[in-house]
Symmetry: C2
Subunit: 204 residues, 2 copies
Amino acid sequence: MKIYELAPSPSARRVSIFLAEMGIDVERVSIDIRGGENLSDAFQAKSQNGLIPVLELDDGTTISESVAICRYFDEAYPNEHSLFGHTPLEKAQVEMWQRIVELKGLFVAMQAFRNITGVYKDRETCVESWGEVSRQRLIAFLPILDKRLSESAFVAGDTFTVADITAYVMCNFMKNLNINLDDSLPHIQAWCQTVSQRPSVSQQ
Amino acid sequence: MKIYELAPSPSARRVSIFLAEMGIDVERVSIDIRGGENLSDAFQAKSQNGLIPVLELDDGTTISESVAICRYFDEAYPNEHSLFGHTPLEKAQVEMWQRIVELKGLFVAMQAFRNITGVYKDRETCVESWGEVSRQRLIAFLPILDKRLSESAFVAGDTFTVADITAYVMCNFMKNLNINLDDSLPHIQAWCQTVSQRPSVSQQ
């Protein structure tokens, strides 16, 4: 079993923190995304979405999409504290917050970054004004997340879940957009401090 | 238990087809999105993401995000043919394809529509050129989906899953962007025909 990745990328970090939380160690193979290694026929044959990370099982079956990889490990290695929740309501609440943080946060941040910087303009059409709109939408989402974290210890409730991993990776990625967690966001600040001290985060 | 929705919207349709597949009937309350009823304080207090659909349980607990609502029903009403898959590998493959169809298909279609038409320009900044880029990216995704459907009967494998619901809703929504399933996409055409004959789709 191995994971093809670019370790510092947000999607690879989501999987790495998840696996560290579960205490699972998987062989890694580094892919040079900016150099276009992921565009090769060999990689495209493995990756259904053309992107990293990709999990390759021992029989050659591959799984793309970071959350799908996390779910595979959660299901294949049952554990006492599932990061996807336990009861039907918990599972729905984790899915809800995970998606809210993705759709209003992390994915918006990535659209902002790609369109403002044009980092992948060799392979996609960029629209700088959409990047700026996305950056503003991300800034507008932060008080919503701050309010949520004033109501509960973690993003989806009382315990640390995959939604916290997504939110933490988003908060780190914001530095690329010159967005900082200032004092108007005290609950995100405090939660970030707590999460950064977890071994799954601090020891990587 | 009730669902707040705008029935013809893509996200509400995803939930409606899912519930019809499960044979579950839930009271519906119609929300006038274009008139801004979802912007009211009363609705915003129910909806964590500010959007429809919202599931309200009998104790007043609410769940936003269409896929989170679907997952709640899948988990709370265990059934023989889960639309999210059964084994760890199936669950990961459903999640993967569901996300690929969302991230490269349905969400791209919705960004195209909102930015080209400016339908919600009273509440969001639109960038028409991003709408056009999104429309082109959606068109570029269709051959990938067609290839996938040349390899398997349904999007995530041999059986109908939540990923097919997402893809079918996307294909219907494309009409709003003047994108048709022409003869260059024979496998999507045939699959669409099959899906449209399911009672969950044809009887709504």
